[in-house]
Symmetry: C2
């Protein structure tokens, strides 16, 4: 064997040996998560002992303390809080939505809920006609003369033929986020938005409304998909149908809160940081199991798995519980601000905020070279059912790190069930499969391990 | 351009045009299933109006009538029943399992259920000591002197580190199927089998026991995983712990029942049949939503989708509701027997019996040439999340057709949640995601369409 052949032989064998080591390590990670995992136990505590945790609420404060204690109990190298001021919105007493004096059904109570950040109608309520539209273009065509003083009902459904339900969400969610300000331009009294869900359901989905500063704030509610269909039918049958809306939500002064960070120090390259995170806050209507309890416990579990298997990372690995993703992103912004202030070098940040379902891959955002490096590890993930490394995307909370050159990733679980629960009272622990959650934790740990071992140069 | 180049050009363009037509047709199939699908509505009727449907039960008879009417109402070209005699086993009154006189806890009631096909203890019950084993080898080593007169407790769990939960099931289910006869060889009085589930749960999982003709039949029950852990602990702490078991199940005379078949006639090759099926019977403890209501409604939906989109198949397409998969396979055997008798040519048979979860691919059984032909269509399925066409396997009900040279396929959904519900009272409609179910129906229809269009030569 000549020298060149020998070198090729050694190179190939080294490559193959390294691949074997990686496969064995990744198997150890999955075994640890599936046999001894703490993801589900943690999620049970977060959802059942604490429950809902909207920014500024007692639940959010309890979740901060809970996650600090959990990470301290796991004996991470350091655990600390990052103070951050957050919006403080309260729903107030139960909303009333009532279709009044219809010809066929008389008066019908419907299920509505204030959108997060919305002003309330106050106890006097609003009683007026409803005008249904499917788009902002349709609204603009109607103009002030048709809209003035009425309730605008945005009723464009999510498109069920989109296989990725997040694409269907993207195609409809501008109604919820911007509908109020669009309608206010034409003098609307309030807006009712069809819930962001694909099923016909009883319960409405909340979520944030964003008022434009240049127009009046008007009350905004979501209506359940079932009652959206009913309202649409009644409005078509009877042009004079009236709607009574009463909501009591209020925007209070900003409140103090915290991101919670746990860390395992790196050995060789301590200054290079890899983040893995989820958001600790949830909407007020539910336990926030899939959104985003799962992302939080999976992030903590990544570090716990490393400790349990005795893996000493080369780089510093951080689990970050971001506060206020749902209605402000203040935690994500604060985290990036502090990273810049302290001249920290965040080489990669991974987020899990698409629910605790069977992991299918990772989205990525950053240089093509790094994407291709990560894609070269795909065969290590395929035995665990992860096959999709082609989609773009990071995550909301880690987004502000992009400006610092951080490579962003988001865990990509199966998306089919997410919008059955998202922002609703149905987002509870029993909707989470223990194994699906654990597979997600393991997949995240496996990719963090590979990024830590090989770096991202 | 010379003639050879022209031919190559035409060939490539024809190929690419055909691929485009297929992609468009497959999109139409998915759109129909997701927008106008009847899968979920059908499943709602089958689970909520009929419910459990063990072979020989009134539920099974009602399910036969229901599926006949559904397919007639969809105006399939023909719908008929195939008479078949089925085993008739009844559970009788609720089972009693009791750990008696433990030192620490006194007497403890535990959740047990007779395995399907088991004889009962009768009203006098059995009260004796429990001996725990993990394998048949361990049982054999203990031998008659340790086992005689005792209750053998098979407590080897499913392996949580198997990513495919069906592999974990295969690794444990011999305890349920053959444990009773193995234990009877050594004179055991009865067997208790750890439920085939991966979670710690309250409820036991039933399932079939198969007695060997050469040994005595002894009562066999499943115990919930939660109580299996408890029993194991108490038996270890206290060698003298006794167990009281009382079950009332009975094996009655075989009963008349039916497979239900619906058909759309082929245009060009009417004699070539493609089957798509699920099993209509379920265990008695639940609604049989995932097992296998989903397979039944998906199979009917394949034909309904073709009719709705105006697709006239070249070959004859049949939806087959098999009877008695759970405890006898009589329906599958009868179907193959009649196919042979009538000299029918079944070129392919597809089954769905792994639950109505997000489809990930198809297993296949038959010639490598056909497998590779089907794998060449993989890129058409990838946009819908199906990527796994490499696993071997057909399905229980269509298995008997293999001897006639039929190519077999089984839809391969995500497996993580299946054994949370399988054979338990938790196998109910609310555990089925409408979209996941509809994606499965569409995936099956898409592959049947391609097999129909191109044949399997």
């Amino acid at each position: 064997m000549n020298k060149i052949l020998l070198l090729i032989f050694l190179f190939v064998n080294t490559q193959s040996f390294a691949q074997q080591v990686d496969e064995t390590t990744v198997k150890t990670i999955f075994d640890e998560s599936l046999k001894n995992g703490k993801s589900y136990k943690m999620l049970e505590q977060l959802t059942k002992k604490i429950g809902s945790r909207l920014s500024g609420s007692p639940g959010a404060a309890a979740a901060v303390e809970w996650s600090r204690h959990v990470m301290e109990d796991f004996d991470f190298d350091s655990v600390w809080l990052q103070p951050v001021m957050v919006p403080h919105w309260v729903r107030g007493q139960k909303e009333i939505g009532r279709i009044v004096n219809t010809k066929k059904m008389g008066t019908v109570e419907v299920n509505v809920c204030s959108l997060g950040g919305s002003i309330g109608t106050g106890p006097e309520g609003i009683s007026t006609k409803v005008i249904e539209v499917k788009s902002f273009e349709e609204l603009a065509q109607l103009g002030t003369k048709n809209v003035q003083g009425k309730i605008v009902f945005f009723n464009r459904p999510m498109d069920p033929t989109q296989i990725n339900t997040f694409a269907a969400y993207s195609g409809a969610v501008n109604q919820r986020g911007s509908g109020a300000s669009e309608a206010a331009k034409y003098g609307a009294a309030a807006v009712i938005v069809r819930s962001m869900g694909l099923n016909v359901e009883e319960y409405p989905h909340t979520g944030g409304v964003r008022y434009k500063p240049e127009v009046n704030k008007i009350p905004a509610v979501a209506i359940s998909t079932k009652h959206a269909d009913l309202l649409s039918k009644l409005v078509k049958e009877d042009k004079d149908v009236q709607f009574y809306l009463e909501t009591h939500s209020e925007i209070l002064e900003d409140a103090p809160s915290f991101n919670v960070v746990g860390q395992i120090n790196g050995g060789e390259y301590k200054d290079e940081i890899i983040d893995v995170g989820g958001h600790l806050d949830s909407w007020d209507l539910a336990e926030g199991a899939h959104d985003d309890g799962t992302g939080c416990v999976q992030s903590i579990e990544v570090l716990r798995i490393f400790k349990a298997m005795g893996y000493k990372p080369k780089r510093t690995i951080r689990a970050v519980m971001f506060m206020n993703e749902e209605n402000g992103l203040r935690g994500g912004l604060k985290y990036a601000e502090l990273a810049a202030l302290h001249k920290e070098k965040h080489i990669a940040a991974m987020e899990s905020d698409r629910g605790g379902f069977t992991p299918r891959g990772f989205t990525m955002s950053g240089s093509e070279a790094i994407k291709n490096k990560i894609r070269s590890w795909k065969s290590i993930f395929e035995p665990y059912g992860l096959h999709d490394f082609m989609q773009d995307g990071g995550g909301a909370d880690i987004g502000p790190l992009a400006a610092q050159g951080t490579f962003l990733l988001e865990m990509l679980p199966d998306s089919q069930r997410y919008f059955d629960y998202h922002h609703t009272p149905a987002d509870t622990l029993d909707k989470v499969s223990k194994r699906e959650l654990e597979l997600g934790s393991a997949a995240m740990a496996a990719l963090v391990y590979l990024m830590d071992k090989y770096g991202l140069k």
